[in-house]
């Protein structure tokens, strides 16, 4: 990335080249953004291996959609949105496959005592990873990524009130987990 900037290409030039099918340009965009995409995937998925698969899927999806990217927002912002959709889409697919055998949303269990143990210096990242799925998604999107409840509701297909309730739940669990 640094070499490209030095050469005066920059992100818009790389995006244009990648959209025209230049894999090397796309790899430069990947190198510049993979850390942020992975952080989002890891925090939303709560699983390292799954996060790596979601990173792969997000960049493949971005590659496929790149010709329709009009530059209305920064590339990194657009990529971030693509990633969120990939992660949520994966969850919807997983939920669909498990339908009939999974616990209903409202009955999603609280983290196990071993995962959230008051009194221990538990790492915040681990505590986030131990949150129930829906609470973790809403928490990461709202508190870490800065999405509003209305946006979260639209992206995830839940009511705004449900989004607020899940955020409250996540914060309550985290406070308990991180209490001295």
């Amino acid at each position: 990335m640094a070499a490209s900037r030095e050469a005066g290409i920059g992100v818009p030039g790389l995006v244009a080249r990648a959209a025209a099918g230049d894999v090397q340009a796309f790899e430069e965009l990947y190198r510049a953004n993979v850390g942020r995409v992975y952080a989002l995937c890891l925090r939303m998925a709560g699983d390292r291996h799954l996060a790596e698969e979601l990173v792969q899927e997000s960049f493949v999806r971005a590659w496929q959609k790149l010709p329709s990217f009009r530059g209305a927002s920064a590339f990194s912002t657009w990529l971030h949105r693509v990633t969120v959709n990939v992660v949520l889409g994966h969850r919807r697919s997983a939920a669909s496959r498990a339908r009939g055998s999974a616990l209903p949303e409202a009955a999603e269990p609280e983290p196990a005592a071993s995962a959230v143990n008051p009194g221990e210096a538990i790492d915040l990242e681990r505590a986030i990873g131990a949150l129930p799925d829906r609470a973790r998604e809403v928490f990461v999107l709202h508190d870490v990524e800065g999405f509003r409840h209305e946006e979260i509701a639209r992206l995830t297909g839940i009511a705004v009130g449900t989004s607020k309730a899940q955020l409250h739940r996540a914060r309550r669990i985290l406070r308990k987990a991180l209490a001295p």
Binding site: A20, G21, V34, R48, W63, K164, L178
Partner: protein, 220 residues
Amino acid sequence: MNCDEFKLRIDDLLDGRLSAAEAREAEVHLERCPDCAAELAETVGLAARIAELPRTLEPERDPWPGIAARLAEDRVARGRFGRRELAVAASILLAAAAVIGAYLIGRQQALTASAPAAAPAAGAVEAEALLASFDALGVLDYATTRQALLEVLERRREQLAPETFALVMANLELIEESMARIATALGADPGNELLQRQLVTAYRRQVDLLERAARLPSRV
């Protein structure tokens, strides 16, 4: 406002979603309720810790090889090639054909050799590591399938437009480069299931690319 009502509104208070009147009611409650004040302080402290989380995290393994393999297939399927790439692909046509030839000859020699060979080149070691990985994964027909398809493609070379043949070769190389990188990573971490799946997926894409290339219509 009592404690239950405050707890219901604590997130709205923190996120600035309370009306002025509701915020004032909350403040009045906090002045006389140390428990709710402590809960608010904990929540504010949590927000501060969240704000300090790093924006980026690096994956333990680089996902790019798997991505590159999938892009190669996508490029063939969608025909996403620019003029510059067509020119580059055409320029490597001879080199790619030479690579295939060397591979076929090398495999044949490896199968028929009766005496120990000289120390293999780095590329050969990588190729053998790749094949060993496939054996470990139970994809035993990899070399046979790949070789048969390459032979079909080589026989059809004169029937295909040079640009088409060049593109197939360019993407075959791209996939093979990805597979070699995955194989190298597997060498360092043989039990990694994600890498194993990536390798098998890359293999299937390579075979799929070759099968489709072998079925391409002849130029008029």
